[in-house]
């Protein structure tokens, strides 16, 4: 959603005249970064000034003053204020001519009104678990068959989404029967589990993990948890005869786990290994996979991984 709004707002922004106060979130972020940079420059300059004063005092009077790194002379996060646009304009108007500044604003406003409305180039893309979650639990999504343009019924959606992962490389071969270790089922179980607990679940591609958990959403705060999905077969025999090559179903190497953990600790995220137990084929009937009722037989457990440094973590 954020991506779509960004484009719309940016294009709308270009059409709004420069007098308006509205800013896009990207502009707000850039302004915040520029302000922070300016604050650091001002603070460094103030510290240098205090140090230079201490030097002159020593040279002239001979007494030693330790230059302070904080205090009334030096701006801090609480006391520093950025130079606002109004004060800058006021400075300009004192030196330059106010009439030029005003007429420039008017011309820009008129020029931009004549531009054509911009096309919306963004689309919202949902993953299969996300789409099924919305259609099944909130009934707020209609999914159309791409060939017939007809809405699919919920049972059809359920079967189709599983079959997507089973599609044979040669189209003439029949689709194999539904499997318990279908990646769609595993990922949907994890997605549904965390969504129903109130987390916002997003893709974890940027941090080498499967999912990221946000408290409110990516726009508000950084994710606190990084999820790696580890499927486990209740019956090891099922894994041997499986036609699906599930990621992380076999223990991964220690070096790989260590790499993911380090990468995520670096960005202040806690790594969670989410184990999804795939029920044994022998226990369930074939019809089980025709509805989401099969999830009653899956279990989801979490293990948190944290690096322990005995020398530093004594409490």
């Amino acid at each position: 959603m954020e991506k779509r709004l960004f484009w719309e707002r940016e294009s709308v922004q270009k059409q709004v005249d420069s007098g308006a106060k509205k800013m896009t979130s990207e502009e707000i972020r850039e302004k915040r970064r520029a302000d922070r940079k300016q604050f650091k420059l001002d603070r460094a300059a103030a510290i240098a000034k205090v140090a230079a004063e201490a030097e002159t005092i020593f040279e002239t009077e001979g007494r030693v003053v330790v230059p302070a790194l904080f205090g009334p002379e030096i701006p801090s996060g609480a006391t520093w204020k950025p130079k606002t646009a109004e004060s800058e304009l006021a400075l300009e108007q004192e030196s330059g001519s106010p009439e030029n500044a005003k007429s420039k604003g008017e011309d820009e406003g008129e020029g931009e009104e004549e531009e054509e409305p911009l096309e919306d180039m963004e689309h919202l893309q949902l993953t299969l678990p996300e789409a099924f979650f919305l259609a099944w639990n909130f009934d707020c999504l209609t999914i159309l068959d791409p060939e017939t343009d007809e809405p699919l019924s919920l049972p059809e959606i359920w079967i189709t989404f599983q079959q997507i992962y089973l599609a044979p490389p040669i189209p003439t071969l029949p689709t194999p029967e539904l499997q318990l270790d279908n990646p769609f089922l595993i990922h949907y179980a994890v997605y549904h589990h965390y969504r129903s607990l109130g987390w916002v679940v997003k893709n974890g591609l940027k941090f080498c993990v499967d999912y990221l958990l946000y408290k409110r959403g990516p726009v508000f705060t950084h994710a606190e948890f990084a999820i790696v999905v580890c499927p486990v077969y209740e019956d090891p025999q099922d894994q041997e005869v499986s036609i699906t090559n599930l990621q992380n179903a076999s223990p991964f190497t220690w070096s790989w786990l260590s790499t993911i953990n380090r990468a995520n600790s670096q960005v202040m995220k806690t790594l969670i290994l989410t184990y999804v137990t795939i029920p044994a084929r022998s226990r369930l009937s074939r019809e089980m996979l025709n509805t989401p009722a099969c999830f009653a037989h899956y279990s989801v457990r979490e293990v948190i991984v944290r690096r322990f440094i005995p020398a530093r973590m004594r409490d």
Binding site: W7, E119, M121, H123, Q125, L126, T127, L128, E130, P146, K202, N203, L205, K206
Partner: protein
């Protein structure tokens, strides 16, 4: 659905030739052209490798604004081998550039870019 998107005409020939890689090419093209705002963006057909690639230049305000850069899109589901550096493969098809960008596209349209260079290269600061 893809066909009605305004970006489609530029990609049409390569996308139809290699339908497996159509999705990742489409996502990367839109990101590069519209979000990253690169200039002179063109779609290339890497015949032997059976996929499409993109070339372009960074925005005028960037550090290396005049360099022609190459991006090869791929999907998260694909397995890529280092054979890309072989004489017959991607690097060769792009006439041996010093480095290429690999764009990994996932299901929810997130894209992550990796820079692949020939040999050992110091990372830029």
């Amino acid at each position: 659905m893809l066909e009605i998107h305004p970006s489609y005409p530029a990609l049409a020939s390569v996308a139809e030739k290699y339908p497996t890689h159509r999705g990742s090419l489409f996502q990367t093209y839109n990101d590069i052209l519209l979000a990253q705002q690169w200039r002179d963006v063109q779609v290339i057909d890497l015949g032997k490798c059976k996929r499409g690639a993109l070339q372009g230049r960074r925005p005028r305000t960037a550090a290396d604004a005049d360099l022609l850069l190459h991006i090869v899109p791929c999907s998260l589901a694909e397995s890529i081998s280092l054979a890309w550096y072989d004489a017959e493969y991607v690097f060769a098809a792009l006439v041996n550039p010093p480095s290429i960008y690999l764009a990994v596209v996932s299901d929810d349209s997130s894209i992550v870019y990796y820079k692949l260079s020939s040999g050992i290269v110091k990372p830029s600061i």
